[in-house]
């Protein structure tokens, strides 16, 4: 290697990151990344009909459904859900329906902050 190239670069402490930017997965939500704030409709679950088949968990592209081990019920994540309807389409028990955001207190109706 030619000495005209740096042998080693100085990277400031706060910008150090693992090779390939592979990092431990965050557990839970990140306050800086609220990506569901432009949703128009949200899925609402009927726990009477839900069979916890986990189809919603499997098909959700954003990981917005999970099974709460204590209550054994499906739990929805309001921060990341973009209202794409995939879970509603894929639910075999017809336990999910869409409802307009404006019907909910604190429902997202406009973009507040990007993140």
């Amino acid at each position: 290697m030619s000495p005209l190239y740096a042998e080693k670069f100085r990277i400031p402490k706060h910008l150090e990151i693992a090779d390939g930017a592979v990092v431990p997965s965050p557990v839970g939500e990140q306050p800086m990344m609220k990506t569901g704030n432009w949703r128009i409709e949200r899925p609402v679950i009927d726990h009477e009909k839900c069979t916890t088949c986990l189809n919603c968990f499997i098909f959700c592209p954003d990981g917005c459904w999970h099974l709460d081990p204590k209550s054994e019920k499906m739990v929805w994540d309001a921060i990341y859900c973009k209202g794409c309807r995939i879970c509603v389409e894929e639910c075999p028990a017809d336990a999910l329906r869409l409802e307009n955001e404006l019907n909910f207190k604190g429902g997202v109706a406009r973009l507040d902050k990007p993140y």
Binding site: M1, A6, I11, L15, I17, G20, A21, V22, S25
Partner: protein, 397 residues
């Protein structure tokens, strides 16, 4: 014992992948590279190779599956040609940025329009700055060997980069040639199983390709730049080890053919080197002081070696086989790299380009002789009359 066989580039490359014990193969058909996947699927079906064989729904999906397989810790393998290489483009940077050392075999092919399927270097050369190791093979045997050597280079912990292992479509991929297939045991010793430092693991979940803030971007770009600065030493070691283990005679960066006493040389890569060798032999017999320099790697580009070797001559003819419309020299891309490499040299040869081998056209011996005439004149007068010659359409050729 190594086995002698007579096979075309596609079959030889598939044998290279088999010897490298690839674990996940993803395919999508496009000629001429399809032959590699046909042979590999036969091997998997016949139980000769233990690998997952996945069909992509297109090249974008195909290369994405390869990325996922590599992230899961597998030695992943894919390939494409021409417009297929272009369709996979979006995934190339995430793969090198995420440092997944998977391999993509390419039998090169012209871009459209108008739907040409012949060999041309334009497909890979138009995506060559995405952080992948890249080089051309001249023969089926070299293509097979490169497959194994590239995994060795890419999977080195100091490198961790994906590789494009390229052969000329048809000229190499479809013309049978003698191939000496090394022993599996020899290759196993040379290339141990891939040890992925960050394989996906449900017990220890990780984010691959996370969303970052703008100030974190340059630091990650720098990682790839650093990896490329680390690569040359690893390349030299990997090729020296392969030569020793398998009994080959590859030079790491540039192969010089009959350059002793040469005043002017052809500078090129890939299949057309074969014809160039015959042309040089013939011209030497007639007293011309001509030689050939073959390029083995485009990325990393061997700047110092190109400068040192080409400075010895009075004139250099870069044979492009790929287009770069409106670039600095208005010809192909190789002349840019060659001129940049020579910029700091106290001895400057006269450098011109020949646009030849485009759209699948053979570069004939006659055309090499005509190019030699121009180079001889350039060597004598110490300068070029024209930067770029379109072979078959231009002054004197």
């Amino acid at each position: 014992m190594p086995k002698e066989a007579y096979m075309a580039g596609c079959a030889a490359t598939a044998n290279g992948a088999k010897l490298a014990r690839v674990e996940v193969i993803t395919s999508y058909p496009i000629r001429p590279y399809t032959g590699i996947m046909m042979e590999l699927s036969r091997m998997v079906a016949a139980g000769e190779l233990d690998a997952e064989f996945v069909h992509g729904e297109g090249e974008h999906g195909q290369v994405s599956v390869t990325q996922g397989a590599s992230a899961a810790g597998a030695r992943a393998y894919t390939g494409s040609s021409g417009v297929g290489v272009a369709y996979g483009m979006e995934v190339y940077s995430p793969i090198s940025g995420g440092r997944y050392p998977c391999q993509m075999a390419i039998a090169d092919r012209a871009y459209d329009p108008p739907g040409d399927f012949g060999s041309e270097h334009t497909d890979v050369m138009s995506v060559n700055n995405q952080g992948w190791i890249l080089g051309w093979a001249e023969t089926p045997e070299e293509s097979m060997d490169n497959c194994i050597i590239y995994y060795k280079i890419g999977e080195d912990p100091k490198v961790m980069l994906p590789q494009w292992q390229v052969q000329d479509g048809y000229f190499v991929s479809h013309i049978p040639n003698k191939v000496s297939i090394p022993d599996q045991a020899q290759v196993d010793e040379y290339l141990p199983p891939y040890n992925c430092p960050h394989a996906l693991n449900p017990q220890n979940p990780t984010n691959h390709g996370p969303q970052i803030f703008p100030d974190q971007g340059p630091a990650i770009d720098l990682q790839r730049a650093q990896a490329f600065l680390n690569t040359p030493k690893v390349v030299e070691q990997a090729i020296a080890d392969y030569n020793k283990a398998i009994g080959r005679n590859y030079s790491a960066w540039l192969e010089e053919y009959k350059t002793d006493g040469a005043e002017f040389v052809f500078f090129l890569m890939g299949a057309h080197c074969r014809t160039a060798r015959f042309a040089v032999d013939h011209l030497r017999k007639k007293g011309a002081k001509v030689g050939m320099v073959k390029l083995r790697f485009v990325r990393p580009w061997p700047t110092a070696q190109v400068c040192e070797v080409l400075s010895k001559f009075k004139a250099v003819g870069v044979i492009e086989s790929q287009t770069c419309y409106g670039g600095a020299m208005k010809g192909g891309e190789l002349q840019h790299e060659v001129r940049a490499s020579l910029y700091d040299s106290p001895k400057q040869p006269a450098v011109c380009s020949f646009m030849a081998g485009l759209g699948g056209e053979v570069i004939s011996l006659e055309e090499f002789y005509n190019m030699a005439k121009i180079l001889e004149k350039n060597a004598k007068q110490g300068k070029v009359d024209q930067y770029v010659y379109w072979v078959g359409f231009d002054n004197g050729i």
